[in-house]
Point group: none
Chain length 215, copies 4
DNA sequence: AATGAATGAGTGTTCATTCAT
DNA sequence: GATGAATGAACACTCATTCAT
């Protein structure tokens, strides 16, 4: 619980009190980390791109890694925020009768977020493998909390008779990789292709729910 | 075409003529690149782990990047090898009546490969974003050739009446992300979990083909 | 002469007009300079320890070295103060018939001073070798004026027949190093040992006087 | 015991296997450390003065501090070497009937050593206060072993009736500070003055012995 | 008077690469 | 073929000092 609070406190602290220079540093860092990777981006390059002195970076962020985490931790927190609200099931009951509707709503919602945080998200998934702290945050928040919530959610729709009798973890994995597959292809692999987003989502949800086989 | 030749030539060159020291260098490099990333692994660390002098690395590989490519390019080539054989369709006709069977066979086959080349594969997907040459190789070989072949393959099964009438690229994307989703979760996220591989594949193919909806 | 005035002016300036913050800065600086040395102590560390902003230090002391000198120069001045009074010989005639008595009185007096200014004294002797200004002050005030005065003083007691016929400079050096040897061992090397100060002084004076005394 | 071995192993290892560049680095470092102090000497300055690349320093010495210790530890070891030979007392019995003779011999011997290692010795005493490892070495080797040996030695001459009945530690301290007082004044304070070394030693020994001698 | 953000030169150290042996 | 000493540019980070508030 305190962990959760922490991650969200970081989130808001940062959002508000960023000085102008700090803002520029973060922007430059995001751009460069995404393009060349954290390890291959030097603080002097960030400083130059941000138009500040190199020392200024270290006045705001104790280390280069601090700067990375200040970008990537809040992104992870915001990414999973919709799933850690306390009464998710109530929302679902009230608003989404069908798993299909829930999926569609969720994809749209997260797509909106990713569209605006694509670069930070890219950094997040690129750097997770190299930083134990990130791995740990990922494990704790996503692999455990969100996954578990999602499993219960699938159970919920199973009880309603909407989902076939396969193990819920497998269903969750299948749903999740299909969704993230779409979003990653859409925003990371081929971001400049001409997409009809709504239709792609529609089709993806349809394939998840109905599969691609005939009759 | 010459690119393609290149990639395969490298593949076989390497396999055969590796001296003992070279073998040790490559092994050490694979282990460290996977763990800490290319940029964060120093040639001196590789040399130490391989038990050779630092200069020896540069006798065999002109640059550090050469060493990376000697690991990663053949891996990409081998990974997609089954899809670039000239008469894939004939094979399919002869052996796999149903898309389902093809999928199952393919997943099993690639799983076998990944199991033995997991570390190199990990490096491959981790480093692609940071190296234009790799991006280009990926684009040319996978995003174009393999994807295209896959699309024709889906068309093939569509004509047989086995696949619903959605745009083939969407179907391919869906199939591919579901499969890679499984393999990545299985081998990269949770490699030490207790998996019943055969059953997972079974279920995944079933979900791709039938979806998760009821009735 | 103007130098001398300077050194004493500083001495009193400081004593009186120190603001509260300034006091804290000086205290923090003394503590840290003694422990880690001038060069290895950063102004930011001093500021933090003093509980003031870094800029505040530079409002009171133009440079970091100014801060050092404001600590060390007055200490040197006070240390040698008893020797630069104009009519030392009269005092001696009036009060100390024997060299022995003079030595004992002097050691006791300087010991009192060192006990209370040990840390600043430590800084003084540690930093003298690295700062030309301090070397110069030392040379001018101690190596010349005080030494010369001491030589005349030994001559004085020689005339009284109390000191053997060795060159006065050698006698002075011997007396001085014996005394400072005691004080340095006592206060810098083994400050927390259990000392019987009076007895140590007694013995040291006895050894010096036996050494150079006449029958 | 193993400590002792260590310190002497360093001593000889180093003496022999120094490459030409390493020799130059050490020479440059000694010169600069003595002049400006360890903390105020930068590795780039050392490199420049030694005529090598900065990286070369770190090929031979893992850190800047390693370089310091490689200079200063052997110096301390050699300085105290004559006192840690196993059968010091036998030597004394055989060669020096009188404390006076022993003192004279020892001063001459150590003076010879200091003359040739003055700069390293200067660094040693300047840096001891700032480096816990050096403090510890000093405490262990000098403050304990050598001091203790010296005390027994004074006891030895006391039994022979040559030294007055004052506590041996005080006698040792007095002798030692008088001797080091001479050597420090001679070699550090006023190295370029015109000294009659033999006569100074003669006088100092005389004053010490008169001071603590019997009859 | 006091602050603390900003600076840019400088720090110790690591790097990929070269080359004489 | 293999070595490892040597390089100098680059690295993350710290420094004393300035100045607008």
């Amino acid at each position: 619980m305190s962990e959760e609070k922490n991650i969200f406190k970081q989130l808001f602290d940062e959002e508000e009190s960023l000085t102008e220079k700090q803002q520029k540093i973060v922007e430059a860092a995001i751009e460069m980390f995404a393009e060349k990777g954290y390890a291959s981006t030097s603080t002097s390059q960030i400083a130059k791109k941000a138009g500040v002195a190199e020392g200024t970076i270290f006045r705001h962020y104790k280390t280069k890694k601090d700067l990375l985490l200040s970008i990537v931790s809040p992104t992870m927190a915001k990414l999973i925020a919709p799933f850690v609200i306390r009464d998710l099931n109530k929302v679902l009951d009230a608003k989404y009768d069908r798993y299909e509707d829930f999926l569609k709503a969720m994809i749209l919602n997260r797509q909106e977020f990713l569209k605006e945080n694509m670069t930070a998200f890219k950094i997040l998934i690129q750097e997770i493998p190299f930083h134990p702290e990130l791995k740990e945050q990922f494990r704790e928040h996503i692999a455990e909390k969100v996954f578990e919530k999602f499993v219960r959610l699938v159970d919920h729709y199973k009880e309603k008779g909407q989902i076939i009798d396969l193990p819920s973890p497998a269903v969750v994995r299948f749903s999740a990789t299909s969704i993230f597959g779409l979003l990653i292809v859409r925003y990371l692999f081929l971001p400049e292709a001409d997409w009809n987003d709504e239709k792609e989502i529609e089709m993806t949800v349809q394939m998840i729910v109905n599969g691609i086989g005939k009759g």
